[in-house]
Symmetry: C2
């Protein structure tokens, strides 16, 4: 057997909070004006109370509402798959497992937090959401979730992706969301996640019917993703494994990485590996400092690895990883050396993604290709040493909406810088 | 609970053959030259022996080889889902279930037979396959399967789809297949499944390393798809249902319809409903007669409903249903009134598909939208009568690679003829 499923009634009913397990207690975000620690009221124009509470919670577990579980059960628990065909192609003694988040309705892990955020907003009376999206994974996920709770949605899409990824835009519109390219006031600018966040926050502030939703970076977002790692732990046990030797995930803002890795933080023998694009090397080349989450300086200052909030990453295709900063929780773990980080160039990512497609049969999103590239290198290292290493990586999304990037790679049209 | 899964070791280990259950014994295909019944040797240039045996088999069950099961277990058994959100939106007392074939690696049911065909060809020493593809679902499925067995593949893609659906072409190439638009010798012709079959058969005949693979129509293809209905039966029992009142599936060549419906043929109380596009109304407006499977008259003559082998359907987007003929097994069931058929215009199909996306959260392939449109009508009829009808339909594929068609529909660019 090489695939482990769990029935819908075995979905975890509480999220795992990594905060009590951090080597260093988290530092607070600072108000962008006063530079004092933010208080919940500062965040009230943007988020519902429940999410603000989760943002600052130090409780080890947070209950998942039944209404959220009802929707997650449409596709969760997701399968854990052993990549035996890839192992064989590599000739490695390593056992490679991946958690298949691509089967969610919008095709990626982003749907996990989208449902929770839409639910809490609807429950507190919000009728409209704004958000940003880079590659479009988050925008599609939130559009799906907004439709489930009858919320209106406006998505500010990084202009480079808006042009390169029309299918993501159409998917958002099919679920009922509205999409505009960002930055809205600079039609020639390729955009960045930072500038799209500014647009979405500006649209939200001052409208009492509207809240803002973020698809990564924040503590509550990563909290919602921990379903991934919790299920994986249970499924690895079903597969007869104790713990993985290394857990690998791509990292842009940190949400799919946090989702699979955080439940393993207390297991000190488990290595945790973040994989980022060489063109946007936040964890590997950024500085650890307080910085804004957006370009315009509207968000609180967060303690994180950053390339500077005015950094404009090259318009590479793995757009979901093009963020100047990183989750404060992930940053804290990297700073304290509980988590490692590595950066990969784009060519190597697509090479790995195509090898995966031809062996395991699934075409990954380019973001996901980063984890696959690092997984292959870990497996080849195990081949050198003969070690029967257990590798777990997050298959965070499929690439059906990113096929133009594959075409560009195959035909030599990709910028090799990143 | 609204989703029923089965673990990978509960996949059916034998395919269901409908032939012993037909009201009228099947008539033989005829040789295109002599018009005499074909003998196995006539088919040997095209297909491996095992598939020829399955094509003429009257055994009630056919064992699935272990090597095929090993690959099918990557995604099978597929979930059975109750569409409670759609039921609620319609206000119907009907209980609507769908079998989710969209989670296969290539995103549709076609993968089921692709794996079996690639296996039998590889086992008998073939190293290269040719095939046709309309909308591209079959081409992607066979490219995935060919990669699993290290077979070379050349896909002749209906020219209209080649232009409208670049993502399908790229997916085929990503798995390693070669794609060319068809008809190869008429660069201005939009093409049809019939002409693409001619191209693929011509390429195959006379090359000893090459066989031909067909994605629908033939008995062995529909046999491989019966996994769908077999699993659905078991899962409906888990859901507490006896038998469905009606089983619904889209119908082009008949393979996803046969796959879900054939295991219910012996259950005389179960209605079986084929849904075809109004622009290519084979079952509802065609004649029952012997006709060629392709445009050029290279294939055997088959007893089926047909619009004539020189029929060129309009270039609508639901390309997978654009076939002049139909499966002889499906045709026989319709002729004997064991199966019903209905035709839907394209606008109504997309309207239904979008309602499904916004309620159930999944964006269907346009082909699949045909089944959804008919399901909605059955559910609304049940609302009129107050009947607690159980409806089962085949969610045969996702629409992530068909989003341009949604954009065209939403923006009024679709030809409303079909």
């Amino acid at each position: 057997m090489s695939r482990w499923t769990l029935p819908p009634d075995r979905i975890p009913s509480a999220w795992f909070n990594v905060v009590p397990h951090l080597p260093t207690p988290p530092q607070p975000p600072l108000h962008p004006g006063t530079r004092e620690p933010v208080v919940p009221e500062d965040l009230a124009p943007l988020f519902p109370t429940a999410l603000i509470e989760q943002e600052v919670s130090a409780e080890p577990w947070v209950d998942v509402p039944g209404e959220v579980l009802d929707i997650l059960r449409l596709w969760r628990p997701t399968p854990l798959v052993r990549a035996t065909r890839l192992e064989k192609a590599l000739g490695t003694p390593a056992r490679i497992y991946f958690k298949d988040e691509s089967i969610s309705p919008s095709g990626s892990h982003k749907t996990n937090t989208a449902v929770a955020q839409a639910f809490y907003n609807a429950r507190e009376g919000t009728t409209r959401l704004t958000t940003e999206t880079g590659a479009g994974q988050w925008g599609t996920a939130l559009s799906f979730a907004a439709a489930q709770f009858d919320l209106d949605l406006k998505v500010y899409m990084v202009r480079a992706s808006y042009g390169q990824k029309p299918y993501r835009r159409i998917a958002i519109e099919t679920w009922g969301g509205e999409v505009v390219p960002s930055p809205v006031d600079e039609p020639d600018h390729p955009g960045s996640l930072g500038s799209a966040i500014s647009d979405a926050v500006r649209d939200c502030v001052g409208r009492s019917d509207t809240h803002y939703a973020l698809g990564s970076v924040l503590n509550h977002v990563l909290l919602h993703q921990t379903m991934i790692g919790l299920e994986a732990k249970e499924q690895l046990a079903l597969a007869g494994e104790r713990l993985p030797d290394v857990v690998i995930a791509p990292c842009g803002g940190g949400s799919n990485l946090g989702g699979i890795a955080f439940p393993f933080v207390p297991d000190s023998g488990v290595r945790l590996l973040a994989v980022e694009p060489l063109s946007c090397p936040t964890l590997t080349q950024g500085r650890y400092d307080y910085d804004f989450g957006d370009t315009a300086g509207l968000t609180p200052l967060m303690p994180m690895y950053t390339l500077g909030h005015d950094f404009v990453p090259p318009s590479i295709h793995a757009g979901g990883l093009r963020y100047h900063g990183d989750s404060p929780l992930v940053s804290s773990l990297v700073k304290d050396e509980r988590m490692e980080a590595v950066a990969y160039p784009q060519g190597k990512v697509f090479e790995a993604a195509i090898q995966f497609a031809r062996t395991e049969g699934k075409i990954p999103a380019p973001e996901c290709g980063h984890a696959i590239a690092a997984t292959i290198d870990e497996a080849l290292a195990a081949k050198e040493t003969g070690e029967e290493k257990v590798i777990l990586f997050n298959y965070c999304g499929h690439g059906f909406l990113d096929l133009a990037a594959y075409d560009d790679y195959t035909n030599g049209r990709l910028d090799e810088i990143g």
